[in-house]
């Protein structure tokens, strides 16, 4: 086993533990993620496997295929997070609006 493999596998294990600690979501989703992590470890241990998958879909190297997938996933994540952020901003606006209206003051001119 090369040094990079050791580093990558430890990183994946740490990520998996962090994921399980912070994301307490449904069992199905958790199993899916664990599957992704296991695939990651397998790909690190047997790099030729990713090459074979890449060749199958018509890409030269496994690393290239991974890059393409990462770019797509990145943009999807970006859009999903952007929507969430927007939603939170709307809620925040609504809260501030409610508080502001509750605290509204009416001034009157004594001379009138």
């Amino acid at each position: 086993m090369t040094l990079i493999q050791v580093i990558l596998i430890s990183a994946v294990i740490v990520l998996l533990l962090l994921y399980l600690k912070f994301f307490k979501n449904a069992l199905l989703q958790r199993s899916l993620f664990i599957l992704v992590f296991i695939t990651g470890i397998v790909a690190v241990v047997f790099p030729e496997l990713t090459n074979r998958v890449a060749n199958f879909v018509g890409v030269g190297r496994g690393a290239d295929l991974l890059l393409y997938l990462m770019v797509i996933i990145f943009y999807f994540t970006f859009i999903i997070l952007y929507r969430k952020l927007n939603k939170i901003q709307e809620i925040q606006t609504e809260i501030i609006r409610k508080i502001s209206i509750r605290n509204a003051v009416k001034f009157s001119n004594e001379e009138e």
């Binding site: 929507r83 606006t93 605290n103 001119n109």
Partner: protein, 225 residues
């Protein structure tokens, strides 16, 4: 209490807010100042005048301020809600004219326009004219309303319009958002010629021409994402 409410969003326009309010006081309308988290002390500047004062404790943007003021007006029995800028660029005569028109009852929303008469058209700075022409085209793409003016801050809504329009665009793109909702809610609209006072101050403090790109970006994001 009058049932006509003038909503004036205000963000650090301390030098002009008082004059703007004073110019409107004699009309006997209810004036609602929405202080959008200004760092300047707007409240003390105008607390001796007959107004309603609302403050966002953080800055949310002009669209959000207009929505806050409109909500407040409706909760206090408004039949008509006008949007008016704080920096002294709108004229009280125009506001009165628009309110008279909407009171006739056939129209749901009256929009100010700088492009209906040559007199008001000639005062617009040149670069701004071109940007506004492009903005018209963008407006028609996004809202389907073909207006003569694109981003005029002066408008008067009747109760039906004020309750059915809901601004989600916190920043400047709300002007197009209003048009989109006028279209989808099938509201009766009319443009009325207004003049804009392009003072040195309002040009320095107001929106820069580059901000047009920001507005476009907001619109595209909202439309497609």
């Amino acid at each position: 209490l009058s049932n006509i409410f003038i909503v004036i969003p205000c963000y650090n326009e301390i030098r002009l807010i008082r004059a703007t309010v004073l110019s409107l006081l004699s009309l006997q309308y209810e004036i609602v100042i929405v202080d959008d988290g200004s760092s300047e002390n707007i409240k003390d500047e105008i607390s001796d005048l007959r107004i309603h004062y609302i403050r966002h404790f953080v800055n949310l943007g002009q669209g959000a301020s207009l929505q806050t003021g409109t909500d407040y007006a409706l909760q206090n029995g408004a039949n008509y809600v006008a949007h008016f800028d704080a920096d002294g660029q709108h004229r009280r005569e125009d506001l009165e004219k628009m309110i008279d028109l909407i009171k006739e009852g056939n129209i749901d929303v009256v929009l100010g326009s700088r492009f209906l008469t040559s007199e008001s058209f000639d005062q617009i700075p040149k670069v701004r004219k071109y940007i506004l022409q492009v903005a018209r085209i963008i407006n028609v793409c996004f809202s389907g309303l073909w207006l003569t003016d694109a981003h005029n801050g002066l408008r008067v809504l009747n109760k039906r319009t004020a309750t059915s329009i809901r601004l989600k665009e916190n920043r400047m793109a709300h002007a197009t958002e209003i048009l989109q909702q006028i279209k989808t809610k099938k509201l009766n609209w009319r443009e009325v010629s207004v003049k804009i006072n392009y003072t040195k101050y309002s040009q320095e403090k107001g929106q820069s021409n580059w901000n047009a790109l920001n507005i476009l970006f907001d619109l595209i994001i909202r439309k497609f994402i």
